[in-house]
């Protein structure tokens, strides 16, 4: 056992060896951290002390042509979680209890919306202030939970304007794939429909970034000084061509009816003055997280509140499109201004089928303008047969049917304008009869139009064949005060000569002012109205009631097209409604004029 007793020299030497060994270990440790892993750890130390937070810009405000609010923002609070700061068994559990959202759902939302582990991930939007107060007081109980002030969209419910405003919501994964803007990330709020969608890039603004210093316990120190924040750019404001008063007038007429659509436009420039789809929905509910039950209720409603009727509703236009057939006849030389067909005796025998006129007692012999005045079907049947299916279709196309109008709103339908090719495809070659032409000539059968297309058509008619592209945004005002004024754009011109147009406009006038006009009840002493009624046969139920009105006729400023679903004759239902709307427009205009005149101001605003 001698080897276990050591001399003092040996012990001293061993002590030094041990100390050297010990220092080498510590030096290796230091070298590893401060030299090899330095870059990594320095980055980590940055992340630890600063939390990167997005500054959500104020979304642009949308007003009507007179500066009245259509879409506004209201302040709300959003609860977010910073994933890296989650404490197991505490953060999510306590939060779940507080905001009444189960833990699995919170986790799902965090996973889905996470941008970075160091950045707050929104969990619930629009939380009540009481919850914010609890989070503020008991922040220790909710490690990693933060709340942020966010603005929530507020839609003027009274307007019934959701058909063009659309709404906003959290971006979905599918949408994200299509958007290349780096500003849009999971959890971002983007426009989902309507103007909100079409002008999302303008309304949204640019997200900013701020760096916040926090302690390990999650307490805010303040804004981080070393890294300058990138300020957010507020979204641009939009001024629409909409007139809120007219919009309200359009919405109110539906009080007694189930469903329908109204489009009011200015034929001189294509501005949409009012547009409503009834029934609508409350766009505000989409601003925060919409409960599934409510969503299902809206989606499954048999009256289809989510259907954007003016742009996507496809209806047979009925007699409202008789102008096209007559115009085509005049252009093609099939008819002349005063030429007449066989008299109308209440119907027309074609082959083994009897095609009825809407007036069983018959109209007798009529010229072109009076055919429009009284909406005689028998005249149209004979004209249609002479023109043939493809000629008729060609003119429908020339008047904008079957083609998207190009309005600055998303998800527009093109309607349907059938021709030989279409029928061959649908029924097979020679498996269909010319009877279909008869239907087409009176706006029935396969021909389908959207209310917007019809409004565009009457604008063209009122504007001597020049059609301006329908548009709803008049002015864009960026946050830096830069303005873009949207100029009216001519979309196309009718394939009609001036003479043809004169005859058609004569018909337009006779519908209201003529002795036998189908809408003569709209005649009044203050201003002249033109128009056309329509009764669209609906295979699924009662007829749809159409009316297109133009006023004042000497210098048309407004076109109003209304369809009331399953309401019966156009002359009985839609015409008085349109009359009412035009009246509210003209009254307001005259009031302004009266006031201006008494003040000595030129109402047109164009002095010299």
């Amino acid at each position: 056992m001698a080897q276990f007793k050591l001399s003092i020299d040996k012990r001293e030497k061993l002590s030094y060896i041990f100390l050297v060994f010990l220092f080498i270990i510590l030096l290796i440790g230091l070298f590893r951290l401060q030299i090899i892993e330095h870059t990594d750890l320095a980055k980590q130390s940055e992340n630890n002390r600063i939390r990167v937070e997005s500054i959500i810009p104020r979304r642009g405000i949308v007003t009507d042509r007179n500066g009245q609010i259509i879409i506004d923002n209201r302040p709300s609070y959003t609860v977010s979680v910073v994933p890296v700061e989650i404490v197991k068994g505490k953060t999510i559990e306590n939060l779940s209890e507080l905001i009444a959202l189960d833990t699995a759902q919170i986790r799902k939302r965090i996973r889905r919306n996470m941008v970075s582990r160091y950045q707050p991930t929104p969990v619930k939007r629009d939380i009540p202030f009481e919850i914010v107060a609890i989070l503020e007081e008991q922040y220790k109980k909710f490690p990693g939970v933060v709340y942020q002030m966010e603005r929530v969209r507020q839609y003027n419910r009274q307007l019934g304007a959701e058909t063009f405003t659309g709404y906003v919501g959290e971006v979905s994964e599918n949408e994200l794939k299509k958007i290349s803007d780096e500003d849009v990330h999971l959890g971002s709020i983007i426009g989902k429909k309507g103007i909100e969608k079409k002008y999302d890039h303008i309304l949204r603004g640019r997200e900013g970034t701020k760096y916040i210093e926090i302690t390990a316990s999650g307490q805010l120190v303040g804004e981080y000084a070393d890294k300058s924040k990138i300020p957010a750019e507020p979204g641009g404001n939009l001024t629409l061509s909409i007139d809120n008063d007219l919009q309200i007038a359009c919405t109110q007429v539906f009080d007694t009816f189930c469903c329908g659509a109204i489009v009011a436009m200015d034929p001189r420039n294509g501005e949409i003055l009012a547009m409503t789809s009834y029934p609508g929905y409350d766009a505000n509910i989409f601003s925060s997280v919409i409960p599934e039950s409510l969503w299902n209720e809206i989606r499954d409603d048999s009256t289809h509140p989510l259907l954007n009727r003016p742009l996507k509703g496809k209806y047979p236009p009925g007699s409202t499109v008789k102008f096209v057939g007559i115009g085509a006849g005049l252009e093609e030389g099939v008819i002349s201004e005063n030429s007449k067909f066989k008299p109308c005796l209440g119907g027309y025998q074609f082959g083994n089928r009897f095609f009825r006129c809407w007036k069983a007692s018959g109209h007798g012999s009529l010229n072109a303008a009076h055919t429009l005045e009284q909406s005689c079907d028998v005249y149209m049947y004979q004209l249609g047969l002479k023109l043939g299916i493809d000629k008729l279709s060609e003119y429908y196309r020339g008047c904008g049917f079957g083609i998207k109008t190009g309005v600055d709103l998303p998800q527009e339908a093109s309607g349907l304008n059938p021709d030989t090719k279409y029928y061959d495809k649908r029924y097979g070659k020679r498996k269909w009869t010319l009877g279909l032409v008869l239907n087409n000539s009176i706006g029935q059968g396969e021909l389908l139009v959207t209310p917007l297309q019809l409004a565009q058509f009457f604008c063209g008619l009122a504007n001597d064949g020049v059609v301006y592209r329908p548009h709803i945004v008049k002015k864009i005002q960026y946050f830096d005060k830069k303005e873009i004024i949207i100029k009216p754009k001519i979309s196309f011109t009718f394939p009609f000569s001036q003479n043809t147009l004169r005859i058609l406009q004569e018909g337009l006038k006779l519908v209201v002012e003529g002795k036998h006009g189908t809408a003569k009840r709209l005649k009044n002493e203050f201003y002249s109205i033109g128009g056309k009624t329509g009764t669209a046969e609906n295979p699924h139920g009662d007829n749809h009631s159409w009316f297109a009105g133009v006023a004042p006729l000497d210098n048309p400023e407004i076109v109003v097209v209304a369809i009331i679903e399953n309401a019966g004759h156009g002359s009985e239902v839609a015409a008085p409604l349109v009359g009412q709307i035009i009246k509210s427009y003209m009254t307001k205009k005259m009031e302004i004029k009266t006031v201006s005149d008494s003040l000595g101001i030129d109402s047109t605003g164009e002095t010299e």
Partner: protein
């Protein structure tokens, strides 16, 4: 009895003074942004403690080591009584009961016990006639250590208990026992650690047998070693369950700091980030973001080295290591130089205490030692700890000043 100031070990004193001053600066930096004024003024209190500690150091230097030799067992007895008392009237700090509170002053009797055990062991080993490897010698010295360790484990404080084992091992070694022998003695603990997995334990056991075969410590000793190793390896799961939750967590976190980054492992991760982000030159005084924004737990005590690493980088750390190196080197020199066996053992034991806490603390901040709550000698905030370490320096300086005395 006067001493000549020229005979004092000024290099040693200077190293300790510099370490203490570095400590005060770091404490100030660590608590610069603290929420209470009390915390912000930690460094001022540390300065007062330094004055007290230096005064005690000066007293010790003037006291002949012979006196400690004579009073060794008395001091030992008093410290045992204090350790028992603290279990009943002590206050809790960081999950451990071990403090006497006198108003703002906290006194840990375990710090006094370190000195008391050092005295008692030095006294015993200096005069015993028993051979180095005698079982009675080992048993008696073990008993001297076991009593305070048992009492401290009851508090419970694992780190401090380990300090006592280190004192015992260092003194065994300095009184002549071969380190191989020490290795065999601690082999059951290695067996315990490796027993967490059957494969690691098998490898360890094979290595142990090879070692025994080559060193040949004697048949009986060999057999006892093998049996205790087998026993410790098999009772591990049982012992594991007896550990306090925080101890289990500390060990587990030590083994895998990433397993709970927000809990215990968080401290280690944050400390590593602090030191690593400091790089070569550091972020500068008061510019350590980890320190300033309290990502570092206890930046003024346990993790003071992390503050140094972050704010002064590798350069600052090297200076600190150098100063400790001076202390250890001088201690060994003195222990070899002085004629009194008691003084030699005392100095070596004192160096052992400093060395162990230095190793454990820095190892912890670098991430390869468990979080034990042992402060860094001279540097960490803490009055009694500062007094203890300056007392230890006092013993060294005193021994050197009277190196000729037996």
């Amino acid at each position: 009895m006067t001493i000549k100031y020229s005979s004092l070990d000024w290099k040693l004193i200077l190293a300790a003074v510099l370490l203490t001053l570095i400590g005060i600066v770091l404490i100030m930096s660590a608590q610069h942004n603290a929420s209470t004024e009390y915390q912000q003024n930690y460094y001022q209190r540390q300065m007062i403690w330094f004055a007290i500690a230096f005064f005690i150091f000066a007293v010790i230097v003037h006291v002949p080591p012979k006196l400690f030799d004579l009073l060794a067992y008395v001091i030992y007895g008093v410290s045992i009584i204090l350790l028992i008392l603290v279990l009943f009237v002590g206050t809790a700090k960081m999950g451990a009961y071990g403090w006497f509170s006198f108003g703002p002053i906290n006194f840990a009797p375990s710090d006094l016990a370190k000195i008391a055990v050092l005295f008692a062991l030095s006294r015993f080993l200096a005069y015993t006639k028993l051979p180095v490897t005698s079982k009675r010698r080992m048993a008696l010295t073990s008993l001297l250590v076991a009593v305070p360790v048992m009492l401290i484990l009851k508090q419970p404080d694992l780190g401090t208990s380990l300090v006592f084992l280190v004192i015992l091992f260092v003194l065994w070694f300095w009184s002549g026992l071969s380190p191989f022998y020490l290795l065999l003695i601690i082999s059951p603990i290695l067996s315990l650690v490796t027993a967490s997995h059957w494969l690691s334990w098998s490898i360890y056991f094979v290595l142990l047998l090879i070692f025994l075969f080559s060193v040949r410590p004697g048949l009986l000793f060999g057999i006892v070693t093998v049996i205790t190793n087998l026993a410790f390896g098999s009772v591990m799961p049982f012992l594991w369950n007896r550990l306090a939750e925080y101890q289990k967590l500390r060990i587990l976190t030590f083994l895998d700091p990433g397993r709970d980054p927000r809990g215990a492992g968080y401290q280690i991760i944050q400390s590593k980030i602090a030191i690593g982000s400091g790089g070569i030159f550091g972020k500068g005084l008061l510019h350590g973001s980890q320190t300033r924004l309290d990502f570092l737990p206890e930046p003024h005590t346990d993790f003071i080295f992390s503050v140094l690493g972050e704010e002064f980088g590798l350069l600052g750390a090297l200076i600190l290591l150098f100063l400790f190196g001076v202390i250890f080197y001088r201690a060994v020199r003195i222990a070899v130089h002085c004629r009194s066996k008691f003084s030699s053992l005392l100095v070596m034991g004192a160096a052992g205490i400093i060395m162990f806490q230095f190793l454990i603390n820095i190892g912890m901040t670098l991430g390869f030692m468990p979080v034990t709550g042992l402060p860094l000698p001279f540097v960490s905030y803490g009055g009694t700890s500062l007094v203890l370490f300056w007392s230890l320096i006092g013993f060294m300086v005193a021994a050197e000043a009277r190196w000729q005395e037996y």
